[in-house]
Symmetry: none
Subunit: 238 residues, 4 copies
DNA sequence: GATGAATGAGACTTCATTCAT
DNA sequence: GATGAATGAAGTCTCATTCAT
């Protein structure tokens, strides 16, 4: 087995997916900042904060929480090391904030997408698109991966994530699935009992891409479709 | 959101699943060691090595690679710090060895379990049992989780794992699924195209257990059965 | 034979020969620093760097490269351990810099002193004075001793020293000696063929002082004069 | 300035100059050892001791005292690490013994060579030969170099060396030189006042060879002759 | 006597955090 | 607010020395 070497340089700079439909409403875009010297300062400060978060995501994703150096985050965000501490109490708080800021919007969208009585087939099609476009093809994929990889060592993070995301999403999905089952769109109640199985291919795809994309890239969309095909294929008449 | 605090103490001491059917045959158990003064030293040395590996698994699992202190590994293994370096070149090598030693046997068992022409239903039943008993209920679950969580930062580890485990297992499983499909046991070829979907619930369960077991434990066996129920339910005649 | 014991404490604090004619012009002495708030930080930083170099010379001289603890250097320079690494990449680089910073000026002075057509007698008198005042009675003597004692284990150091110092000085000296020989000031061409013999008593004095000064101090000036007396004594008529 | 790198591997195995005229009478060569089982063990033990000393000289010469690992000494001597401690109390004692064993014979020879009323010219010729053959071309050169380079950090070693070697040799040489001066073989009393000047080229050659042989080897014999030529050239009549 | 595995003090180096400017 | 030099606790790794076999 070859020598494990430190993961190479973190990849290039990344926007925090600002222009996406799922956007973080951090600061009103229309602020007439330039003319107001006070507002200008506040805006610069907020920009720095965002730059730090973006840089932090890059670094945490590339190296994990423990191995990330705030020095590198500062350099990538193009601020001084001390500036980080003007915005975040410490490394852990920075990490937390990162997750919180990025994860919130996803939940809303997923909840909205699931709150419907459309045929399950249409819902899943929409979920696939939302997942691929808003998560898998953005840096949010990295945020999710960070939760999966760092969560076990950060109980508080896992709890936050469970409370704010998982339980809410699961409740919504479960309700939707129950209605679908009652409408006869599901052959079994397996999905109702284990709603985790619905997003399972998404989870697997995120993990796979982090580990094995170099060797064998995965086609998420196709894999998710294949998965839903199996779940929703019309069963034999009961 | 509560403050993320460093994961508490790593859990209690753990055997390296020594008595399992999938056992590493390091040293013959029946050796009449005490009567052999020459072998005694070698035996003690091997025992220490095993103790270090066991301790390392506990610590790496609890804290991740970067945050694990070799001091703690030594204390847990009840050896001096320097002793670790008699057996492993450095922290990375120790981590590698840990994965290598534990992962090898699993692959063999999975390959054997899949090399069959039994009805798919029976195979999956067997796979569930093997997975639960030999992986999920042993420390091997933690090894797998370590690969999933640390893999992204250790390219060499991911490569080793892909080459030695994933690609081999995937090939075996795909062949088995193809035969099953040809025998009409699968409604679609989705699984043949994406064999990752077969073990998906196992992966999800390992991740879930690491993150959310405190809040909502998962019944792996039931979840895997539910998953296979959906995949294998007889389809409507085309 | 008595037990060899670790050399006692390194001797007291030493200036890096700052007020000597051969001075390193790091920072203008007359700078009205306190009134300039911007330069103040940079000045403090440069002072710390100098303090580290001075402390390092003391410690390396007293114990040799390998046995010197950067902890002690830091304590002596009155800075934190980490501060050393703000100025020097590692222990070796610190050692290198030390040599480089101190050796440079010496070469220039020696070259200037040798570039002359004065009678050899006068040149040697001047060389004695320069050597004694600028080398033997300053910490530069310790730098030279460090090169002599550590050089064999540091090929790169020896190479640097040969290239930057020895070969240049030797060339200059040889030319001067050749002219003196042609003017009939030397009885033989021995010195022209082996210019090393000219500084030999200086080398021997540096070594002697490091080893045996406690038992029998050496009068460098007198020894060098005696040496030159022999070399330059008028020969028998040819 | 290039990076200083650790001196490469210590050079090949070296006999402790056993067959030289200046031989260490450690163990009688004619011992009928093989037939005597007890003597055989003692002989093996003595051989090991010698092997350790030889290996130690190699390693200490290549790396210096502090950087030498007893592990390497043991490996080179082909004994176990613990064996060293059967023969020498600790690393320092080993180093001391090394110097003591090798230096003793040299002194005797030098004293004998100097105790003479031959013309100085003849004495110096003989000294050159003895020095070159018995010191410069053997591992004793390395021993001398070790004294010069490690002496400053080992007061006890310097003292031993001064008492047992330097002072005795200097006394002998000084007496010889005084007689030569009285016989009119020296133009000045410079050498009588500074007998160190006589061996100066030998010292310089040893240092030079350790530092710069790669770039510009030195011809010791020729340099010493040139030196003596200058010292002994007939002066003008006073 | 010989071995070499084990020990643990100690060295170098890193990096989160602070604070004077 | 912003900076980045300074700090020092903490981590990895080395190696002289010991001691059971």
């Amino acid at each position: 087995m070859p020598k494990i070497t430190r993961a190479a340089k973190a990849p290039g700079p990344a926007r925090l997916a600002g222009a996406n439909p799922i956007s973080t409403p951090r600061r009103a875009k229309g602020t007439p900042a330039p003319s107001n010297p006070v507002g200008a300062r506040a805006r610069r400060s907020a920009e720095r904060r965002d730059a730090i978060l973006a840089a932090a995501l890059d670094e945490f994703s590339a190296r994990g929480f423990a191995a990330t150096r705030l020095d590198d985050v500062a350099r990538r965000a193009d601020v001084a090391k001390g500036t980080i501490y003007l915005h975040f109490a410490d490394k852990e708080t920075l990490f937390q904030e990162l997750i919180r800021v990025e994860i919130g919007p996803v939940v809303q969208v997923l909840e909205i997408a699931s709150h419907t009585d459309m045929p399950l087939r249409q819902v899943t099609d929409r979920l696939i698109e939302v997942f691929v476009r808003e998560v898998f093809e953005t840096r949010r994929k990295d945020v999710i991966r960070l939760i999966l990889t760092e969560g076990p060592r950060f109980p508080a993070l896992a709890e936050f994530y469970y409370r704010e995301v998982i339980s809410r999403v699961m409740t919504t999905i479960r309700a939707m699935l129950r209605r679908a089952h009652e409408r006869g769109e599901l052959r079994t109640d397996a999905l109702v009992r284990f709603p985790q199985l619905l997003p399972a291919p998404g989870i697997v795809a995120i993990i796979w891409s982090g580990l094995f994309d170099r060797f064998e890239p995965v086609d998420v969309r196709a894999m998710m479709r294949a998965h839903f095909d199996m779940l929703l294929a019309p069963g034999s008449a009961p």
